[in-house]
Each structure stands twice: as C-alpha cells, then as structure tokens.
Amino acid sequence: MTTTEQRATASTGTTATPLLEVRDLVKHFPITRGIVFQRKIGAVKAVDGVSFEVKRGETLGLVGETGCGKSTTARLLVRLLDPTGGQVLFEGEDIAKRKGDGLKALHREVQMIFQDPYSSLNPRKTVGSVIAEPFAIHRMLTEKGARKRRVQELMDRVGLNPEHYNRYPHEFSGGQRQRIGVARAIALDPKLLVADEPVSALDVSIQAQVLNLLRSLQHEFNLTLIFIAHDLSVVRHMCDRVAVMYLGKVVELAPNEALYGYPRHPYTGALLSAVPVPDPAQSRRRGRQLLSGDVPSPANPPSACRFHTRCPKAQEVCSVDEPPLEDKGAGSVAACHFPLTREEVHRQDPVAAE
C-alpha cells in the first residue's frame, strides 16, 4: 500500500465509521400490578430490537404511527432513557458506559429538539438564560459578557431578534419558541441533533420556516440529524435515508428516493398511500389502499411479523416466522416475506412509482 493510499484511508476513516450505531436496541416499560409488592405482569415493548447506523452529516428519518417507538428511540439515543437491551454506539463507544463527565460530554455532542415548544421551555426563565443554560452547565464562556454575546449571536442565527434576550417564553409564538429550542440545541455546536417531531405542533405557514432553518443549520455546521416525524411529506423533504417503524421494530430502511419511489414493505406502501396529497386531480387518480383496523397495542404485539394482522399480503407464514430485515435491492432493507412488487406499487399509487 502506498503512502497516498494510506493517507486516503486515514482521512476517510473518520467518515467511514458511522457517527452513531444502534444495535438491537430494546426498551420495555414494565406493567406492574399490586399495591405493596409490585409484580411485573407484562411490558410495553416500545422498542424491540432496533438497529441502524447514522453516517456523519446525513439526515436519518424515523417515521411511523402512534406507538411505533420512534420517540422512545429518540430518548434512548440521547440517554434520557436507559435501554433494556442493546447498544447505542456514539463514535464507536457505548453511551450506556458513560458516567459523570463522560455523560456530560455526551450531552454536549448530542442534543435534542422536542415537539412541544410550549412545555419544553421553563416559563420562569428568560429566553437568554434558557439558551445560555448549556454554557452554564458546561462552565463555558465564563468571562463577563461573553455568554450574552454568544446567546445573541445564536438568537440572530435562528431568526430571533437578539434584543428579545430578556423576554419570557410566553411572549413568543409557537414558531419562535421552536427557534429558541433550536438555538439552545446548537449552542454547544453538537455533532448530532435529534429532532423529535419538531414541527408537528406548528401552523403550516410556520412549519416551513423551521424546516428551512434546520436544513440551513445542518449545512452550515455539518450537523448529523435524526429527524423523527409522523408526517411522511416532511420526512421526504428533510431526510437522506428513512427508517419506517411499526410496533417497536424497523420494518424498512432505505434511501429517500428508493423508499418513496419503490416502497418494499407493505406497511410502507400503505402508509404512503394513506397520505393525502394536496392535488385533487391526483387524489382522484390514486387507488387508495386502506388498511383495516388500528395499530395493535405494543403491550401485546402480534406474533412473528407484527404487521400481519393488517397486511393485505399476509399469509400463514407471516404469523409464524418473523421475517429478518434483509436487503431487497436498490439500497433498501425491509423485513417482509412478500415485499411489494413494482406492479403493486404502481397500482396502489401511480404517483410514487413514477
């Protein structure tokens, strides 16, 4: 091996190892019974064996419906929750092993943005001190005036008026509050940003402002973003790769264009077909594929393939053998015995297959 080649491997080495790797992540919330002696009688299997990687600088989307475990996954990634099993490797190191200063350092590199900009800000703190909080925790920018200066720069960067430094959260609108949350999250220049439904509480005209902000910040700071949402259109707009979750499991993981163009898992197909498109001509053309029933309870998920109770393509094997998450071509991995064919995708949704 020549020296140039060695240098090349060395320089790409950092980008080749994923920033974040999730292996068989499991989170069960126990259901207990009893007043004096609590016995465990079951568990809500919120996250039940989830694995994926996030490369540096990319945006990974996590989509799914209520109870699919996407928000629990987010909380596990930033260690707001401790997993029941499995590992979260950040830069190759298990975050569960971090304690004290190591955990503090993790929280500097991994930040989270929450859904509800109303309840995630302390109403008794000024916006300035909310955004400055990370500096206080990490004892940074201690010289006089430095923190305020930096906070005002951040406010300006996220599109808030820096003069509003001394105002309280209730004086801001929903969109502005979400900007405050973003400013706080990027304050320490994190490597990974986990955004849990960052725009779903906002009005439509405000959503776009926040989405654009996140995208421009990502380019500017070379952020890696995990974007969690139930809105498939927003995810399509934001993400490089998308993981579709159903009842605590990833059922399909694919690059953006592959997933939306040619979904392989019937659940992904149904999900895409259910999204109403703001185009009346198109919605008349689309053969809507309705799933029957509701999502089953994660406390008592169906056997084997969890989707088999609602799947239009389910056969007997689906309730017996759990399909592994395997390569289905074009960079897609899906967990399905009978993945969708091109004809089926086209029949169901001529838009997607185009």
């Binding site: 019974r33 009893g34 007043i35 004096v36």
Partner: protein
C-alpha cells in the same frame, strides 16, 4: 376487586395496631395525669395509690400492658375497662355512638343540601353578584371556628340563654327512639353549626371543579347534541365535577364518626367526641385508646369505601 378489598382490610388491621401502639406510647411518655392518683379520692395515701395501680395493672411493664390490651381486643373484642366509670369501654362507646351518628348524618345532609346547589349556581354564573356574594359568605363560614360559631348560636337562638328563643340549647340531646321530636329539635343548631364550614368548603370545591369541567370538550359535544342546558350541566358537568368531592366527603364522614369533639363539647351532646374529651381530662387510658381506635377505624374504612366508590364513579379507574 375482591382481592383488592381483602388486601386493603388486612392493611386496615395493621394500621389500627400501629395507631394503638402510638397512642399507648404517647400516653406513657406524656401522661395528662396519673390515673391512680385521680382515682384515689380526696385523701390519697401512697399505699392506696399503689393498690389502685396494681388493680389497674399499671405496675406492669409497658409492653406487657400493651400486649394484654391487644390480646383483649383481638381475641375478645374487649377494649378494657374505663378507670373512671369502671365500665367496659366497648359498651361506653356503643352507648355514645348513636348521638355521634345522629350529629354526623344530619350535618352531612345539611351541608350537601346547601353546598351542592350553591356550588352549581356559582359555577354556571361565575363572576356575577350572586357568585361573588355566596363565595364571600362561604369564606367567612370556612374561617369561623366551630366552637365560636356554636357559642354565638347558643347566645343568639337558644331557648334558655339566647336573645331570641328559637332552638333547643345545649345539653338537651334526647335519643331518637326515646323522643324523635326532641331528638330533632335538640340537633338543629348543632347540625347547622357543624355543617356551616363544610357547606362552604364543598360549595367552593364544587364550583372550582364544575367551572373546569364546563370547559371540557365533552361538554361541547353534549351541547352540540342538542341537550337542554340544565341536562348538560347536571348530567355531563356535575357528574364529572362531583366525583372528587365524593372522596372528600367519605373522609369527612369518617373523621366525624370518630367524634365531632368541638361541636359535641359546645352543645354538650353525649357522643363519642365528648367521651374522648372526658377521657383525656381524666387520664382514662382505655377510653382514650378506644375512641382513638374507633376514629382510626372509621377513617380507614371510609378511605376504603371511597376508593371502591371511585372505581364505580369513574370507569377509567380499575383496581387489581
């Protein structure tokens, strides 16, 4: 549900044993007086006191005394003998209980009849003069101490010492079976006095709950269905708003059944509260123990009934 009730009842026994032990220890650590001395008469001599002490069993170690007491309670339902009256505590309590029950039940009816309508009317017309007035009066009623209110009542309305002779005064209590008319007459004022602060408190509580409930989405649904407003308020609003009040009511009844000490003392009603008061005055340990246990028993049982009732009132609550 059955298992839940059994478990709760077993807990109740544990609680009662702990309560009795604590009472025992407090009495020995901080006696209000020496029972033996009190019983020795006008010219006590040490020998007599020692003899009385021996007869009452007070010369034994405290744990032996306590063990004998608990054994009596558990095996024979025997709560000991009053030092003062030389009678079984059990029969003393049973003798006094009807008066306390009469006072409590009557007062509960009065305060519910007053508090609930006032609370509802205030809630559906908030910030009107009616609302402001009733809430102002209720604040006064809550702030007024019962013994003060009782004395004021007696001085104004009692047919012996009152300014105007309207109601029966103190020490006129007659058993319900002996003379229903006099029973009722003698209790009118105690009922009112005892109920005043409770009525006010319940009115305020119901008002606050109902105002909150009336802004719920399901109230809007009830109106959108075309229900008349009074049915929206009573069937959909009050039904939800009253549920937390049931909890408070259960506990209040439990506490009062153990003896409304102040009211019974002011009006000289021979109830359990009065018995307890006299027991403390005379360092009559078995009486104190008995009444404390009775009070604790009622509270524990009231708690249990409230919890069971809650599951019935709110179908989302389930015990296992």
């Amino acid at each position: 549900m059955g298992r839940y009730i059994i478990r709760r009842l077993l807990w109740a026994v544990v609680v009662l044993i702990i309560v009795s032990a604590v009472t025992f220890i407090i009495f020995y650590a901080l006696p209000s007086a020496d029972p033996a001395v009190l019983r020795a008469g006008r010219s006590p001599n040490p020998a007599l006191i020692a003899h009385i002490r021996h007869v009452l069993g007070l010369d034994r170690p405290i744990y032996v005394q306590y063990w004998l007491y608990i054994k009596g309670v558990l095996l024979h339902f025997n709560f000991g003998y009053s030092y003062q009256y030389s009678l079984p505590v059990r029969s003393l309590i049973f003798q006094r209980l009807p008066a306390t029950i009469s006072l409590t039940v009557g007062a509960v009816i009065v305060w519910l009849l007053l508090g609930i309508p006032v609370g509802i009317i205030s809630a559906i017309r908030p910030r009107t003069w009616m609302d402001r007035m009733t809430m102002g009066v209720s604040l006064l009623a809550i702030s007024a101490p019962v013994y003060w209110l009782g004395l004021v009542g007696l001085f104004l309305f009692a047919n012996d010492i009152g300014v105007v002779h309207i109601f029966d005064g103190a020490d006129t209590y007659t058993g319900l079976t002996a003379n229903p008319g006099r029973w009722f007459g003698s209790l009118i004022m105690p009922w009112m006095v005892l109920a005043a602060s409770f009525a006010a408190f319940y009115a305020r509580l119901l008002r606050a709950n109902l105002i909150e409930t009336m802004s719920e989405d399901y109230i809007r649904t009830a109106r959108a269905k075309g229900l008349p407003e009074w049915r929206v308020i009573l069937k959909h609003g009050v039904r939800s708003a009253i549920t937390p009040i049931v909890t408070v009511l259960g506990l209040d009844i439990g506490i009062l059944m153990g003896g409304a000490v102040l009211t019974e003392t002011v009006f000289d009603i021979p109830g359990v509260g009065r018995l307890a008061y006299d027991g403390i005055q005379n360092a009559d340990l078995p009486i104190i123990q008995g009444t404390v246990m009775l009070g604790a028993f009622f509270i524990v049982i009231a708690n249990l009934i409230v919890d069971i009732l809650y599951a019935y009132l709110d179908p989302r609550v389930r015990y296992t």
